[in-house]
Amino acid sequence: MRAQSSKSRIEKHHIEDLIGRSYMSFCVLLLIVSIVSMVYFVTSRGISTFAIDKVSFSDFFFGTNWSPEGDHPSFGALPFIAGSFITTLLAALIASPLSICAALFMTEIVPGWGKKLLQPVIELLSGIPSVVYGFVGLSVIVPFLRNVFPGQGIGVAAGALVLSVMILPTITSVAADALSALPQNLKESSFALGATRWQTIARVIIPTTLPAILTGVVLGMARAFGEALAVQMVIGNAPFIPTSLFESASTLTSVITLGMGNTTMGSPQNNALWSMALVLMLMTFLFVFIVRMLEKRRSI
């Protein structure tokens, strides 16, 4: 009798575990299926520009002429690739010093109320939707640039400014986490040697946390590179390589945003847009790869 009840109990356990395991396996499987199908579909459509429409790699990546509807259609995507890289790098250049200072403010200068002040600010900034950033950029930054600098206001500078505010929270929170995880005795020994706070920050704190801070910068750049709507609203969307900060330009994401709805699936122009999506996807892989490399360095 007793043996039987304990046996049924074990079976009940097995059944419970089986149900739980199959449920979880299904969830995990779904994750795997979603990424595999995403990579497969984007890649298969993305390479059709080269496979079906016979556009050469060098024409696509280094051609500067984007006129898909002309008599002699050409699919030079260099202006968009250049636009994406320029705005992303500029945004990182503007946002990184600000973010690092904010992180230092929160952890080193006034750890008490500095954190209480900046933590909600960072959270709110990261919560504001990107279209709202675009709207504010369009109605504040663009008129400001138009009044102060030459040009129409829309352009690379406006795009970079909007993006820099958007990636501030990403860099700041990663940097602040790294700074507050720093062992206390490192700082104390530096102070004991008679170093000032700035000397400690510049010679001890920043060098030791550099890989982590760079991780934050790369994550921010990944976000800036993939951001579509906010940039599209303020950058002007001209298919040329910009020669000045106040000139209109396009990014990969802004061209896809505007073009995808107006082209038919399978046309050469549509395929070229998918190739740009493929470039975006490969860049995401690259960013994740760099982040992993930096994290490996951090753990040593």
Binding site: H14, C27, M38, V42, M106, V121, L124, T196, M260
Partner: protein, 298 residues
């Protein structure tokens, strides 16, 4: 003395730049609310938009955004919690776990427009769901799932291991321990994280332009039959959300008061996200207080 001067200058610079960020946020919120709130009225929140004439509202868009949010959470929450539990409690360090971790990492940094394109190709065209709420919700699932997995994993990892050991000592099965011992403890963190992720989903636009569509059919809010094309509850109708609407008016708005509508809609969007943030924070504090009180009693 030189080192001291450098220290002073550096401190001033750091403090100034940090306060600059606070000023940027204050300016942003102030601008959005100042420009937008005066335009918000009950009529603005409930009436349909007009294409060419002034005076349109955002009623259907607001409804679509909320409905889409509910649909997305219905799909992502159970799936994300399942995968998160696996990552926290079952996954052994090894190649497969490393691979899944990489997937979560890659998925969460995917540009949302690429997710939107993927949705356009697979869900809208190949599955034939068309521009619809379901397509939008599925695209947002791809977008939101990695976030939910992370939230759940972190919540489960922060549960004290003694609780699990106590469960094992009682002879419970692992799944029983997960569902009846660990899950209730991890729940507050999961709920807080879910509300925060809901804020992100609510403001998402790029992934929805090509999946949920950029138009909204004439809705009859008296019609609650989910299969009728004019019913707001029909999940197979196209649905323009609030964020997509803001983008559309800013880039191709024809109404004479387009700027005011954009300002009002932005204010509504930001206020909603703020409410999500406050609710998440309040809820987290409430649960935390309950937990600490019960600890004190023991």
């Amino acid at each position: 003395m030189k080192a001291k001067t450098a220290d002073k200058i550096a401190t001033y610079v750091i403090v100034t730049l940090a306060l600059l960020i606070v000023a940027v946020l204050a300016g942003l919120l102030g601008y959005i609310l100042f420009r937008g709130v005066s335009h918000i009225s009950w009529d603005f929140l409930t009436s349909a938009p007009r294409k060419i004439r002034a005076g349109g509202g955002i009623g259907p868009q607001l409804f679509n955004s909320l409905f889409l949010l509910v649909l997305t959470l219905l799909i992502t929450v159970p799936l994300g919690i399942g995968a998160g539990i696996y990552m926290a409690e079952y996954a052994r360090p090894g190649r497969i776990t490393g691979f899944i971790r990489l997937i979560v990492e890659v998925l969460s940094s995917f540009p949302s427009i690429v997710v939107g394109l993927f949705g356009l190709l697979l869900i809208v065209n190949i599955f034939g769901l068309g521009f619809s709420l379901v397509s939008g919700a599925l695209a947002l699932t791809v977008f939101n799932l990695p976030l939910m997995v992370r939230i759940t994993e972190q919540a489960f990892r922060s549960v004290p291991p003694q609780q699990k050991e106590a469960g094992f000592a009682l002879g419970l099965s692992k799944w029983k321990i997960v569902t009846t011992v660990l899950f209730p403890v991890a729940l507050p963190a999961i709920i807080t994280g879910t509300i925060l992720s809901a804020g992100r989903v609510f403001g998402e636009a790029a992934a929805l332009m090509f999946t949920a569509g950029m138009s909204s059919p004439r809705l009859d809010f008296g019609n609650w039959n989910p299969l009728s094309p004019s019913s707001p509850l029909n999940p197979f109708r196209p649905a323009e959300t609030l964020a997509v609407h803001i983008w559309k008016i800013n880039s191709e708005g024809l109404a004479p008061d387009a700027a005011e509508i954009a300002a009002g809609a932005s204010a509504v969007l930001v206020i909603t996200v703020l409410i999500f943030n406050l609710v998440a924070r309040y809820f987290g504090r409430l649960i935390y207080r309950k937990l600490t009180a019960s600890r004190r009693m023991n």
